[in-house]
């Protein structure tokens, strides 16, 4: 149990630091590495709260596919991207706004009692049963989100022969 709490804190610090590093480093390729580490640390959380399927999905989709997509984007647009400073100055207003959000939410979080907080895992079969029956409409909608994305994205990047 102590081990789990320890794991939580290690993962939490890793996630926060990697997310921040991804947005602050100069080289965009380094950014991709940091963001991959961020996705992996979140997958660690999902294993920690006994949601292994979500963990695997996070590793496959985020740490795998999305990272590669981002890397692809960096490489294709590389010519100009290295020539320019990626970051602009740190104005006080965005930092203040972000801090305000963190403080307000953390204050709300701190009102939750720290007594026994138990987590319960679901088996993959229970999850898939729920996903394809009770919540099947969400999957249909996800498919309908992907339809215009696919059609439009192909249209936009296709070298126009017409």
């Amino acid at each position: 149990m102590i081990l789990e709490v320890l794991a939580f804190f290690v993962l939490a610090i890793t996630a926060a630091v990697t997310a921040l590093a991804a947005l602050l480093v100069r080289e965009l390729v380094h950014t991709i590495i940091w963001v991959a580490a961020f996705f992996v640390s979140l997958a660690g959380f999902y294993f920690l709260v006994s949601a292994p399927f979500l963990g695997a999905l996070q590793l496959g989709v985020y740490a795998g596919a999305v990272t590669i997509l981002l890397l692809f984007g960096v490489m294709v647009t590389r010519k100009r991207i290295f020539a320019h400073e990626a970051a602009t100055g740190l104005g006080p207003a965005p930092v203040a706004l972000a801090l305000l959000i963190v403080v307000v939410l953390a204050t709300a979080a701190s009102t939750i009692s720290s007594s026994t907080n138990q987590v319960y895992g679901f088996t993959i079969s229970a999850l898939s049963t729920a996903l394809f029956n009770q919540y099947g409409a969400w999957l249909l909608l996800l498919g309908l989100v992907m339809l215009p994305a696919l059609a439009g994205a192909i249209y936009l990047v296709r070298e126009g022969r017409e």
Partner: protein, 107 residues
């Protein structure tokens, strides 16, 4: 399994959301904007997974959270693909993807 601090998870997702919003407000490179949005989206997904697990103690509750998380992971990946398509088309047209250089219209 007991003892994981629920408040800690909520605080962490708040921190991640804060980082995401900070990134969206300060970065001007499109790829970095995409990453900042993904960080914010991941904080929502983390909330759904964790609170799904916590609600699992109540019969009939909880699994909804993890189902939402599955759908949201798919949605976020779709959004990244669309964003990259737009940026590639723009890149081919103009040779730059810095939002600050969007000269015709100001952000």
């Amino acid at each position: 399994m007991t003892g994981l601090p629920l408040a800690g998870f909520l605080a962490l997702s708040a921190v991640l959301l804060g980082i995401g919003i900070f990134g969206i407000l300060t970065r001007r490179n499109f790829i970095l904007l995409l990453i900042a949005i993904e960080v914010a989206m991941n904080s929502a997904i983390l909330n759904f997974v964790v609170f799904g697990a916590y609600w699992g103690g109540v019969p009939g509750y909880g699994i909804e959270g993890q189902s939402v998380a599955v759908v949201l992971i798919g949605l976020a990946a779709t959004e990244v693909a669309v964003g990259l398509a737009i940026v590639l088309a723009l890149n081919r047209l103009r040779g730059s993807i810095n939002v600050a250089e969007a000269t015709v219209l100001k952000l």
